[in-house]
């Protein structure tokens, strides 16, 4: 995975720019915490291995030696 579990302030600013919205500077900390907390489990997930209800063929990508 390699993705940090915590949403950084820099990443938050990038997302705000991409979404084309404005969030007041004094609320950035609150929004970062809100999203970070909600994202922790999703970021901890390896989407290739999660056992879910819907069918999903599993594969191992990349180089095979």
């Amino acid at each position: 995975m390699g993705e940090p579990l915590e949403l950084t302030l820099e990443e938050l600013r990038e997302r705000i720019k991409a979404a084309g919205i404005t969030i007041a500077d004094h609320r950035l900390g609150m929004v970062r915490k809100l999203l970070s907390d909600a994202l922790v489990q999703v970021r901890a997930l390896d989407s290739r291995t999660i056992k879910t209800v819907e069918p999903a063929v599993r594969f191992q990508g990349g180089r095979h030696e």
Binding site: D37, A38, V42, L45, I50
Partner: protein, 460 residues
Amino acid sequence: MSDAIAYSTIRELGARYRKRELSPVEVTRVLLARIEKLDPALNAFVTLTADRALADARAAEELLRRGDDRPLLGIPIAHKDIYCTRGIRTTGGSALLADWVPDVESTCGRRWQDAGTVLLGKLITHEFAMGLQFPGHRFPPARNPWNVNHIPGGSSSGSGAALAAGLVHGATGSDTGGSIRGPASFCGIVGLKPTYGRSSRAGVLTLSWTLDHTGPMARTVEDCALLLQPLAGHDPLDPASSLAPVDDYTAPLGRDVRGLRVGVIRNYFFEGVDPEVERAFEEAMATLRRLGADVRDVQIPSLKATHSFLLILLAEAYAYHERDLREHPELYGDVLRERFLAGALVTAAEYVQAQRIRSEICRETAEVLRDVDVLATPTSPKPATPFAQAHDPEFGFPRSNMPPFNITGSPTLALPCGFSASGLPLSLQLAGRPFDEATVLRVGHAYEQATSWHTRRPPV
């Protein structure tokens, strides 16, 4: 006299109506006077419909004279202010809709009206069912009748406060992450979040389509069952509405719980639980054991990922509010505006992964519910929060015991199970199999009848 009428159960009121000991007009006048006296300190009502209430009461009186025996006839109720009421202001607790008068009635509102209820008015909600009103907001927040310095829970805050203070006999609530059960827990009343699809969402302001539930709030389990009855059933106006047959919800009340299997989910629900809450919960389990229930521990490991449900909620809420957030951001409450905007920052992939996690929680919960009849947990890990803490913008979304059953859509009941040393109510949460509200109500009723928590009144 006022207290006795105000805190009567729905069945007691109906019985006295039919013996001609009381009339709906008399009860309505008592409640209107009580609202006038108590509500300035509680802020439960955002709109009072006194003329409409008296007209409804007179109509009910006439029907009673003709022998109409419907159980909700002449029963005073009020709606959470996200339920559209035709010709009556519906604010959503927001400055954005401060003067909005819808030309439609919610299906739930129409069904209670058709059942003969008396509409007392509209009850304040957290803004758009999510944002506690901060100081300076267009609408002040409701206060907890057990201690006005504490929140009554949300988002059905006015519903919880009005019921606890004896201002109404029934109220609607909505529940996306605990908004029926939270106020029930903090206000010492009973709230039922029915199965997703059991009670219509048509004509109710949306927070999050795949998590929103509508349902009744009352002071006893039987009152909740009586109020659920007309709400349950297919509504073509709500695409998620189920065609599943509707049970008689009062029929199983009074049946014992001997042999019923109660599963206590030992993971997730006890993290950070206040010792007083845990003690009250264990005593409730001991009571159920004494009543003959088979109480056993169970595990649902995937619940550790519950908090990801917020990604679903935020993304769906943003989709609903996007245009108004862009055009009138200043009309959204401080903090709520930024929370809704956060939904714009959830990526499509994250939303899908959160839904995949949800599928896993649903699958594991269904598996556990093959071995037990109901699940039991503390409703809230702590008693009601003080306003001083809740009004800190950084307070955020504390870990909660209620969202797991919005994720699964399971029927879930919250009912009183004790009090903290500081006099705040504590609550027991019972969840069941899809569309098996009857068993959840049966277990809740058996517990309630074996205890007296529901008979305590706040110092209003």
